[in-house]
Amino acid sequence: MKNSRHTKTAAALAGAAAFALLAVGCSSGASSAEPASSDNPVTLTVTTFGTMGLDGLYKQYEADHPGITIKATNIDTGGNALTDWKTKQAAGAGLPDVQAVEEGWLGQVMAVSDSFTDLGQYGAADIKDRWVSWKTEQATDSKDRVIAYGTDIGPVGLCYNKKLFKEAGLPTDRTEVAAALGGDDATWANYFETGKKYKAATGKSWYDQSGFVWNSMVNQLPEGYYKADGSLNIEGNTALAERWDELAGGAAAGLSSGQTQWDWGKGKAFVDGSFATSVCPGWMLGVVQGQIEAAGGNADSGWDFADVFPGGPTNWGGTFLTVPTTSKHPAEAAELATYLTDAKSQVAAFQAAGTFPSVTAAQTDPGVTGSNELSKFFNDAPVGEILASRSEGVKAQFKGANDSVIQEQVFGPATIALDKGTDGKSAWNDALTTLKNLDLK
């Protein structure tokens, strides 16, 4: 601890010194904070992952800021990016100037929030109203330092298959579907009841698998696997247990199709009528489209997107940009992060990768609300508008250090067990045993 703190301070000092030197070197000219120039070239390294849609923006930034060169690395998946970040964080070296982090790791990031630059020094306060308020809350650490700027968010709506709904005699229009599930007051009880009707009418499953349903159920609670004070909150958490029982009841009634997460039989399950609804955060729409296309389906496969979600508004996933304290150019890095998260950039990112913006001005931009490839694929659903509406009322839930481990290793196997026919009680008890064995704090 001592060692690492020393190195951190040293690094911070070095960073500050470098910045001071830069500032001194350029203070003669413009008074605005633009230390880098063609006489004083600065290379900024950026690490992103998955499809964040930022790649097209770097060139423009370089053109607008002579002297700045951006070296971008994109890691294929969030999981690999997490390992990459953790390894470099642990080694205390090799981190980029701008590091993208995922909401799922936020608990771990916040545990070492000292090693991220306080963006308040670089004008975070001036732009904090850019984002939906809960996104800024998520990016603020326990000492009220803003350490990250939000890029996309994952407000959750419901994907449903119009053709299958029609077969079962359910409404097919997306506003009617939303109303039938309870509109703004949609509850899980109602969702499972409708599912049972669907099952009775068609004999088919209602949703793809229990894992994603469970994730959204947990995310909706005021407190999830952790209490806001950072202590574990699973054993004896009645709100959590009640939802588990609801989920187990659904699985026992055969509402789950028991598909493999992220696989869905290489997309076949989306086109062969295995299930009629699916949990859809904004970024999932692109995933669903990819799966359907991989299995030979297209816009005619019948999938649509409704402005409703059982249990109320919730968010799943989303990304931030941070500036690690090891950066030698924190001012330039912060400025780049500011640029990459402004409304214009976020609209561009949405158009490039379908990532739904966390910036309110971008959410209402015609480039987001208008028709695009994605909305055409989902039966001309106004995807942008629906997602903006789904992001209203989301509350940031505290994520503990091991939140993602609990989700994956404790409740991952438990939800699979539910889908394979284990009863709710023993699956819950197995989950508690796993939790105990893992000895998580």
């Binding site: 601890m1 001592k2 060692n3 690492s4 703190r5 390992t83 953790k86 390894t87 964080q89 642990a90 771990q108 545990a111 070492v112 894992g211 493999t260 997460q261 992220w262 696989d263 039989g265 290489k266 076949k268 250090a401 091991n402 481990v405 989700q407 994956e408 290793q409 991952g412 196997p413 699979i416 064995n437 893992l438 000895d439 998580l440």
Partner: protein, 371 residues
Amino acid sequence: MTSIISPPSAPQQKHGRPDAESTGAPSSGNSPRPSLRAKFGALDVKVSPYLYIAPFFILFALVGLFPLVYTFIVSINDWDLLSGAGDWVGLENYVTELTDPYFWNSLFNTFSIFLLSAIPQLIAATFIAAILDQNLRAKTFWRMSILLPYVVTPVAVTLIFSSAFDEKYGLINNILQLLNLDPVAWKSEVFPSHIAIASMVNWRWTGYNALILLAAMQAVPRELHESAALDGAGAFRRFFSITLPGIRPSMIFVIITATVGGLQIFTEPKLFNPSSSTLGGPNREYQTTVLYLWDLAFNRGDFGKASAVAWLLFLIIILVGLLNFLISRSIASSGGGRGEKIGRAARRSARKNAQLLAREAAQENLKEHRS
């Protein structure tokens, strides 16, 4: 090693000292020519050998010894991956790991996969080598062909096998269903998953081991085979009594490397089912010890415990390696005690044969001489 190096340098040292004493002065100015050269020569003899071997030991100290020691230091601390070293906890991490059911589960999986891969692999490699040792046409072609799987990167192998072993859409289950057999849960049941992973390991390593054994077989003297054949020993008898004892050192090498590799297996189980949320199967069906270690360090962030597991695994590998060394020594020296006797008997009879032949030849000679 030192015993070989020191003797030549010792006499020279003695030689140099009286020289310096006789002059009575510390300065070497009195007799500069011989002493400078002698000193340099002495230094050369004394130091050079160490310099020659130094690169290995320096590298080993940097990339082998240092991590080993550092890992041990980490393992006796409560060390979080991200926030760094915490309190000194002594051997507590070791104690917790030794009582952790997942640690034992990972050990069981590791050994199960190791046995399922190492044993068939070595048997197959030995027989393939024996076949390649025959007079085949296009020798080099066959020899290079069996090495081909080794050249392919394990990640690619795993991806191909992983898709073939897919439970719902995989090639193997499709074939099973064509034959009206039940599909096997390759990725969610303990034993089938172990077989699947062992098959990847075998695919990769059998050819490599076969080549090493083949090289060893070619070094076994042909005369032994010939004389045994003269004595009427069949191909199998010759294989067990002459070839196997003959390739003993290589066999030991192959077994030890297979042990070390087998107990450190990582890539195959890691990539076998990448969509699984828990590493090594939903309920850790094929989570090997290295995978468990990785999970501890990089998912759960407990660097201290992960290091303790690394050390435990290190000790286990040494133990198993020693055990294998002992077993393979006794097996290969005899094929179970019997082989060696037969080997000796064969050699003895070969010797007798030769003597007989020589005697006969001598008698023939004598006869010729007389006539």
